[in-house]
Symmetry: C2
Subunit: 359 residues, 2 copies
């Protein structure tokens, strides 16, 4: 029952992504809808910048879908700030019924999954699901004030500035949501807050295995499997855990956190944050699904569920992963050989593989 298959046609009508200057200079720069020149968005505090960013993203997704605000029945969202204030204050501006969620960096898949269920069961015609993060507000809430100039350990990840939103609808588009899996909370005892990839990898493994099993599918049935923000170390742990369970994640697997930055951007293990899988889904993945290069994608957003208080009190870091399966809706005229197309695209993934081979 953990996996829910859509009974009807539920579509991802369109999506919108927006990122900060650093993210916009990375390997995915050509895919984002908008790259900020100024990551303060002319607001006085980083928290207000994050809120403005999310509002702009939600507006962008609705407009890009050709809908207006009054067409949207519900807004599903959450974020990393305490009391998910970015989403709540965004919902205040939107004046759309709001279903607030929290599953840390797994929020994009959680909100997409619930949104799809609402549309699939006729409870809504169009809903918007989205999230974002801001490097500077996350740093000062979870780690240290930027002014302190703290050094980062080699296993650290970089909370991205950016995010994405998708409009889920019963109106036909080229992308269909076919199934969703809600994850269990898994904790292997990692307590290092600078090694979140390791803390989240076991939950990603659990959710992917559950999803494949429920759907009766194999890894090779997917053109692309993307985890949210395991980073380099975390995704290597995931590959090992999957292998231990008899499933080989091959060249069709990549982590959004790894895809976000290149080696020269000095972000160590890669990007992280709820905005990471949100922005990669609504840019790169969406693009490839729209043109049929990807026929079937599994997005597995991953979240680390600790707080600064639990860490200070010596608790370990529980992880969760939610998954959403997206499919290209076949149009008979334009059959594209997806097998050929994925080869040239998974640059990040092959780089990772090369690094592993060199070790």
């Amino acid at each position: 029952m953990q996996t829910i298959k859509m009974k009807n046609k539920v579509y991802l009508l369109d999506g919108y992504s927006m990122v900060g200057p650093l993210e916009g200079a990375g390997p995915l720069k050509d895919y984002f809808d908008y790259t900020l020149k100024d990551d303060t968005l002319k607001e006085k505090t980083f928290e207000k910048s994050e809120r403005k960013l999310l509002l702009d993203i939600i507006k962008g997704a609705i407009e890009k879908s050709g809908l207006s605000f009054k067409d949207i029945d519900f807004f599903f969202g959450g974020d990393l700030l305490n009391q998910i204030v970015s989403s709540s204050y965004t919902a205040r501006e939107l004046s759309i019924p709001f279903i607030g969620l929290y599953s840390a960096c797994a929020t994009m898949a959680e909100s997409l999954a619930l949104a799809s269920i609402f549309v699939d069961n006729g409870l809504a015609d169009n809903v918007v699901a989205g999230t974002c993060t801001h490097f500077s507000s996350a740093e000062r809430q979870y780690r240290f004030p930027l002014e302190l100039g703290n050094q980062r350990p080699p296993t650290a990840q970089w909370t991205i500035t950016g995010g994405g939103a998708s409009v889920i609808s019963n109106k036909k588009s080229k992308i269909r949501v076919s199934a969703v899996t809600f994850g269990k909370v898994v904790d292997y005892g990692i307590s290092d807050v600078n090694n979140m990839g390791a803390a989240m990898a076991p939950s990603a493994c659990d959710t992917i295995l559950n999803h494949l099993n429920s759907m009766g599918k194999k890894v090779n049935d997917y053109d692309f499997i993307a985890t949210g923000d395991l980073g380099k170390l975390g995704s290597e742990i995931l590959i090992d855990l999957m292998e231990y369970n008899g499933v080989i994640l091959g060249r069709n697997y990549a982590d959004c956190g790894c895809m976000m930055f290149n080696k020269n951007q000095h972000v160590f293990m890669g990007g992280s944050g709820a905005g990471c899988s949100a922005s990669v889904l609504n840019s790169y993945i969406l693009h490839k699904l729209k043109n049929g290069e990807f026929r079937r994608v599994l997005l597995v957003s991953t979240g680390a569920l600790m707080s600064t208080t639990t860490s200070q009190q010596g608790d370990t870091i529980p992880g969760i992963a939610h998954a959403v399966e997206l499919e290209y809706v076949e149009e008979d005229k334009n059959k594209i050989d997806s097998k050929n197309s994925i080869k040239k695209n998974l640059v990040t993934n092959s780089k990772r593989k090369k690094r592993r081979e060199n070790d």
Copy 2:
């Protein structure tokens, strides 16, 4: 579309409530399933106590429903601590797929609403929805450390120690979930964090009006309408706002926060916290619904969506309210005149009314 009517029979199989010593000495003391003698639950920190409390509540609800853990398909929950850690760590112990939510003190209705939708649409057989709060962990996160001995202003409310959980199921019980309404975020510009009732009242008004309108019902069609934690001032503001909109909330209206404590307990405006409506629903309201004294109840949990950061940055407090309609499932043999029964029960409400008349 804001209100969703259940298509099939969705039942509240059973619920469980647990409160701290102060709450257990209040007017509802005979209704709670368990009253703690020691609100630390023998844990070393208040955050760990809160987590233990929630786990005990969830276990209690599942056991009281006559089910076992493996029968439960999903756990819907959230709480007031940063990153909803009480719920996340509880979900880790349960090992049930977890759908994490945040809408501050409106969490009970939000989780009940989503849980009912899952069961109604055949996505699950049995799910558990619950939340709790702890006075001491809330005080130090949102206000001041207890050791500081701060005075409380007269408009302050008291975050209760306690909570409740309900098992929602397709198995028949005496209580049916008939409809749910997801609220919009409403902000009338209140910025005083010691006057949250005033901040939340407009959203409660908006949700109740929407629900009544969608259902084609009047206030008198309900034996009981309960808001979550508006407190004395907030519920008086709600009554005024409703009157302004042409709807008179009468003796069948009460606020869970007002019901929780008596005048001699010195908690000023009354109880608050996500656990407030959760514990009152799963004790007093459940009891009256089970024996048919209440035939139709509207639970409207209310949440204030600010964080300490937004307050410090001068933002106002947005409010949200979600509603769940519960009905007694008629058994022909035991027809009870509900009109007679409600008169003797709404002690708190009539007291409030008397106070208003004396003003």
